[in-house]
Structure formats: structure tokens, C-alpha cells
């Protein structure tokens, strides 16, 4: 398996109001192979979002670098998309559902028919056919996040970066979205880096887990998740290996609740 995305010694410090600097991330290194589903898990406030923004080219690292396809990135890359946690803020409220997906395609060299085609097929993929003319505010949270996923898929990226995308929907909806995402991943063979503080979510979804801990955060461990695919909300969560991984992660990052 070839390494598609390589995080090499990434650190980040932010200036503080009193003139000193606050180090959030320290010497984080891990590689992501093509087609992997890597979950980055760490407690709330450990800088996961910052790390994802650095990987996505939205924020320059203080030290280290992110290499994609052999080259160090200096900004957002065409083959990567980011799905944000706050779907209500990342959708364009003045555009309809189809307008929002179309938005992602407008600066790609595609002809009009192809754009329309991709809008339709990707909305179908996430199960939103029939809602094309709705505005985001007319949809539930889970549906809005589906729009964001369809929009990301429409760009046909190699890598999807996801920042706690399901953390602000209710538990039932979250499980539905998790299974939807797993289905998409297996169908389209994307490489996914998924950041979450929810340990069970990470164990349920990932093919590999990176654990962050400490202040500043550093990667304490990286291990392969051997749970078989396809996964099932009941059977997988009852699998003894699921429970072992869950315990292991809990013990390593030192949180009892995962919240």
C-alpha cells in the first residue's frame, strides 16, 4: 500500500494575547495509505481541528510539513476536500440543495451537462433525490450534512478530510450517517481522514486509528483496526475486538467518557 498522504513532524503554535505563544500540536507524524480510513482520535480541545486544517492546507504548520502524492502542500489541494463539523455554516444558505452541490463544481473544468449530471448522481448517492429545490434551512441536520457530503463527493476527490462531521446530530441520525459514509468509502475507494473525539465512532468506522494525547498534543500511537468490513451497528459493536479497541483507546488517551 502506497502512502498517499504523509504528515511529517507537524507542529503548530499560536500567538497568545500576552505576546507569548501557545503550542497546540507537537511533532505529529503519520502516513495515510491510499484507500485507508484513518480516524484521528483525541480529547476535546486537543487540536484535532487544527491538525485537519493543516492537512487540508487551510492553515500553515509552524513546523513540519504535509506531503500529498510526493509533494509538500502549501495550500488547499484539488484532490482533497474538507467536510466541516458545522454543516449549518458550511452550506450556502441562499442556494438550494442542488445549488450547493453545483457550487463545488463551478471552478472545475467540466461542461454544463457533466455538472448537472454530477449534482444529480451525488444527491442520489446520499439519498437526497427529491430535495433538490429545498433550501438548507428547510432540511434536518442530518440531511444538511448529507448535502455537504454530496458536495464533497461531487468534486471526486482522492482524499476526504472530515472534521467531526457527525458530532452535532442526534445519535440515531449519526449511526445512519456513519453507515452511509462507510458505504460510500467502500463503493468509491476514497481515502478518508476522519477526526473525532468519539472513541466508539472511531473504532466503528476506521481501518486505522491515530491517537493524540497531551498538551501540546502528539501522536501517541497508530494501530490498524482489524474489525472486518462490512460493519454493522449491532454486530460490530458487540464484537469482543470492538470492546478491546475501545478499552485500549480509552486507556491511552485517558478519557473515560469520550465526550
Amino acid at each position: 500500500m502506497s502512502v498517499l498522504l504523509d504528515v511529517q513532524g507537524v507542529g503548530k503554535a499560536f500567538p497568545t494575547p500576552d505576546g507569548s505563544s501557545l503550542r497546540v500540536l507537537d511533532a505529529i507524524s503519520f502516513g495515510v495509505g491510499e484507500g485507508e480510513f484513518v480516524c484521528v482520535v483525541g480529547p476535546s480541545g486537543c487540536g484535532k481541528t487544527t491538525l485537519l486544517q493543516i492537512i487540508g492546507g487551510l492553515l500553515p504548520p509552524t513546523d513540519g510539513r504535509v506531503v500529498v502524492g510526493g509533494e509538500a502542500i502549501t495550500g488547499p489541494q484539488r484532490q482533497m476536500v474538507v467536510v466541516f463539523q458545522q454543516y449549518t455554516k458550511s452550506l450556502l444558505p441562499w442556494r438550494t440543495v442542488e445549488g450547493n452541490v453545483h457550487f463545488a463544481l463551478e471552478n472545475l473544468p467540466l461542461d454544463a451537462a457533466e455538472r448537472v449530471n454530477r449534482v444529480r448522481s451525488n444527491l442520489d448517492t446520499v439519498g437526497l433525490t427529491g430535495f433538490e429545490r429545498y433550501h438548507p434551512y428547510q432540511l434536518s441536520g442530518g440531511m444538511q450534512q448529507r448535502v455537504a457530503i454530496a458536495r464533497a463527493l461531487a468534486r471526486e476527490p482522492q482524499i476526504m478530510l472530515m472534521d467531526e462531521p457527525f458530532s452535532s446530530v442526534d445519535a440515531m441520525t449519526r449511526q445512519g450517517l456513519q453507515d452511509l459514509l462507510l458505504g460510500l468509502w467502500r463503493e468509491f475507494g476514497k481515502t478518508i481522514v476522519f477526526v473525532t473525539h468519539d472513541i466508539e465512532e472511531a473504532v466503528y468506522l476506521s481501518s486505522s486509528i491515530v491517537l493524540l494525547r497531551g498538551r501540546p498534543s502528539h501522536a501517541v500511537e497508530r494501530f490498524a483496526n482489524e474489525l472486518p468490513y462490512p460493519r454493522d451497528q449491532l454486530a460490530t459493536r458487540e464484537d469482543p475486538r470492538f470492546l478491546r479497541y475501545r478499552r485500549h483507546v480509552h486507556e491511552l488517551i485517558g478519557t473515560a467518557t469520550g465526550g
Binding site: L92, W94, F103, E106, N107, H135, Y137
Partner: protein
């Protein structure tokens, strides 16, 4: 008939009753008939001015000034507001100037405007534009400041250029504020149109009112004032239609948020 409808009709009844009182008071000579002529006479004069084209001539002259002044203010106000709202350097460079000019009551610049532009249309258009500029620029800046970070990051991950970000994200997102500024400016434009015509003019509705007063043609003077009321009312109605069309998404969203 619902309570709201009844009260609304009641509101018109209040207006009608006052006009009847005015008519009666004037005819019964309870007030000075010369200064307060009966409404019916004012109406008659209004009708006459309407038929002989005099009203249309004055209204037309005012409309040109109003339209050009307001249009100029919208264009320049939006442009400068964008430069100041989106680019930090633009804000820092222009803010002191804007903040110094803004508290100046706009009629105070009429003498300067006359000095440089004479007493014809250029002066009047400039004065109207000057006064309308500030609410538009201030609201545009405020609207742009409120554009969500996540929305901008979304645009960046899709690789949008600054130009595309401005057109597709910043301006639509700021549009509720921009439109609010335009609405305030609309009322100001009408005020300055009349003031500039009172100061120096030989046509326009403001001139007509002053001219009739000087000629002691009091009913015609009132006819001009009534016309202004109706014009102001219609402009506002027109703007409400424009607003509800352009901001349908915004009002829908706000309604949903209140539920």
C-alpha cells in the same frame, strides 16, 4: 374577518376621519382657511396639477436626481464597503476618513457642493449620493464582518479565487445587511432630494412646494406635500417587494430559527 384585518381597516378609518375633521374644521372656519384650506380643495389642485403636466414635470426632475444620486451611492458604497470590509488594509486606510465625514449632517456640504459643482443637477446628485453613501458603506462592512469563517474555509478548500469568493460567498452572505443599508439610504435620498431643491432649483417637487408657498398658492403647496407622502410610501412598498425577492432565503431561515 380576523382581528388583524379589522384593525388594519380601522387604521384607514382613522386616517379618513382625520381628513374629514380637517375638511370640516376648514370649511367651518375653525382654523385659518387660508393656511389650512379644505382637503377637497387641495385634492382639486392636485388633480389639476396632475392633468396639466406640471406635477409630472417636477416629479420627473426629482426622479432623475433621486435615481442618479441613489444609484451612485449604492455603487460606490458597495465598492468601498467591500474594499474596507474584506481587506484589512483597506479598512485601516479609509476608516478614519469615513468616520470623520460620517457625523457631518449632509446638508452642511451643500455650500461646498455649490462652490464646486454649481447649483444644477451635478450638485444635487452629489449631495444625495454623499448622504446615502454612509449607511450603505457601514452596513456593507458590518455584513462582511459577519461572513462565517467556515463558509470562507469551504470556499478556500474548493480552491476559489478571491474574486470568486467575493462574488459567490461574501456579497450574498452580507446581502441582508447591504439591503438594510440600502433601505435606510432610500429614505435619506428622498430627504436630500427635497432639501437640495429647496436650496437652489427651478424644478423638482421640493422646488414646487417652496415656489407655491412663496406665491401664496397654499392649496398647491399642500398638493406637493401630499404627493411627496405618496411617493415615499410607494418607494417603500417597492423596496419591500425587492427585499422579499432577493432575501427570500434569509427570511425563510429567520422564520425557521424562531420556531
Amino acid at each position: 374577518m380576523g382581528r388583524t384585518t379589522r384593525l388594519r381597516l380601522g387604521g384607514f378609518a382613522v386616517l379618513g376621519l382625520l381628513l374629514v375633521l380637517w375638511e370640516v374644521a376648514s370649511r367651518a372656519a375653525l382654523v385659518n382657511q387660508v393656511y389650512v384650506p379644505p382637503v377637497s380643495r387641495i385634492g382639486g389642485e392636485l388633480w389639476r396639477l396632475l392633468l396639466n403636466g406640471e406635477l409630472a414635470r417636477h416629479l420627473g426632475a426629482s426622479a432623475v436626481r433621486f435615481g442618479l444620486g441613489y444609484g451612485l451611492a449604492v455603487a460606490v458604497g458597495l465598492g468601498i464597503g467591500l474594499v474596507m470590509g474584506y481587506f484589512r488594509a483597506g479598512y485601516l486606510l479609509l476608516e478614519p476618513l469615513i468616520e470623520l465625514l460620517r457625523p457631518l449632517p449632509p446638508p452642511a456640504i451643500i455650500p461646498i457642493a455649490i462652490l464646486f459643482l454649481g447649483i444644477e443637477n451635478p450638485m444635487k446628485i452629489f449631495v444625495i449620493a454623499f448622504a446615502c453613501f454612509f449607511p450603505i458603506v457601514v452596513n456593507t462592512i458590518q455584513g462582511i464582518a459577519g461572513v462565517d469563517r467556515v463558509l470562507l474555509d469551504t470556499a478556500r478548500t474548493f480552491g476559489l479565487t478571491t474574486r470568486e469568493i467575493i462574488w459567490k460567498i461574501v456579497l450574498p452572505s452580507a446581502s441582508p445587511n447591504i439591503v438594510a443599508g440600502m433601505r435606510i439610504a432610500l429614505a435619506i435620498a428622498l430627504i436630500l432630494t427635497v432639501i437640495s431643491e429647496l436650496v437652489a432649483s427651478n424644478d423638482g417637487i421640493g422646488f414646487m412646494i417652496l415656489d407655491m408657498e412663496r406665491a401664496f398658492r397654499i392649496p398647491e403647496m399642500y398638493a406637493g406635500i401630499f404627493t411627496l407622502m405618496v411617493v415615499g410610501y410607494l418607494l417603500n412598498r417597492l423596496f419591500v417587494v425587492f427585499e422579499s425577492r432577493t432575501l427570500a432565503w434569509y427570511f425563510g431561515q429567520s422564520r425557521r430559527a424562531q420556531e
